[in-house]
């Protein structure tokens, strides 16, 4: 009898421990990954801005996988929203910020500047992606230029629909004539069943030293 009670006690401790570890995992995933990624992203944005201001730093034509090369700002997500844009969309890269699909257009270039970002966890840069409305600004800052893209629409697609990344999204044979931008994130939130995709079109660009007209950054 004493033995049975002892085993039951140990089993109870084990189950309570498992429960606590699972709760800790939820806390880590939903809170701690944001803390770490936000701090890291802020530091990288600061460093990039210093690079942009430095006369020695040159905007790379072919960015190395994993390097940050631009800053993405979306006024709809908050006046201070700024995240680094990294080359590549591997898991490690997306845990640090927004990832640029390799072999898609560069900022301002004719074709499709395609990027992916987390909607939940790891700093969740695209958490508010579903709040974007037609005409909303997506600002891409490089050393030389502020590129102002404006949202043209969104779609929800299966994860296999890579045609959203084409130079002319979803039109395999079309020859691109304008610079567009595509953002992908998971959908619904906390699921990987589908992808939420937002498309935008280049509306204007301004020399970096001139800055962006104040009106552009206002959210209607």
């Amino acid at each position: 009898m004493r033995f049975v009670r002892g085993v039951a006690g140990l089993l109870g401790e084990l189950l309570v421990t498992v429960g606590v570890v699972l709760l800790l995992f939820v806390g880590w995933q939903l809170w701690w990954t944001d803390v770490v990624s936000d701090a890291d992203a802020a530091q990288v944005v600061d460093a990039l801005q210093a690079d942009f201001d430095s006369p020695e730093w040159v905007q790379p034509k072919h960015v190395k996988l994993g390097d940050a090369f631009a800053i993405v700002r979306i006024p709809r997500f908050g006046a201070r929203f700024a995240r680094p844009l990294y080359e590549g969309t591997t898991r490690d890269i997306l845990q640090r910020g927004i990832g640029h699909y390799t072999n898609t257009a560069m900022p301002g270039e004719v074709g499709n500047l395609a990027m992916a970002g987390h909607r939940t966890t790891y700093g969740k840069p695209f958490n508010q992606i579903a709040t974007l409305e037609k005409g909303d600004v997506v600002l891409v800052e490089t050393k030389s230029t502020w590129y102002v893209y404006r949202v043209s629409g969104h779609e929800i697609v299966p994860p296999t629909q890579v045609s959203v990344l084409l130079p002319v999204p979803n039109q395999p044979d079309a020859e691109p004539t304008e610079a567009v931008l595509t953002m992908t994130s998971c959908h619904p939130e906390f699921s990987a069943r589908e992808r939420f995709v937002v498309h935008a079109t280049l509306d204007a660009s301004y020399p970096h030293d001139q800055g962006v007209p104040a009106g552009v950054l206002e959210v209607s």
Binding site: G6, V7, G9, L10, E13, L14, V21, L24, F25, W28, Q29, W32, T33, T89, R91, L94, G99, Y101, A116, G117, H118, R119, T120, T121, Y122, F126, V157, P159, T160, Q161, V162, V164, L165, T184, S185, C186, F190, S191, A192, R195, V197
Partner: protein, 54 residues
């Protein structure tokens, strides 16, 4: 028979010191989980994919 009871008995010093030692042990376990275990497990969770691709 109790695993945590055993640890408590093995901790040296008066009760106040034991409390501090236990807290340090708990923090150490949480740190190991946060820094190594959870990041290794997270990729297998079904809610971390944001890209399109085959």
């Amino acid at each position: 028979m109790s695993f945590y009871g055993l640890i408590w008995r093995l901790l040296p010093g008066p009760t106040a010191l034991k409390v501090v030692e236990a807290a340090v042990l708990v923090l150490a376990v949480v740190a190991v989980l946060f820094v190594w275990v959870f990041p290794a497990v997270a990729p297998f969770m079904p809610f971390n994919d944001t890209t399109v691709g085959q």
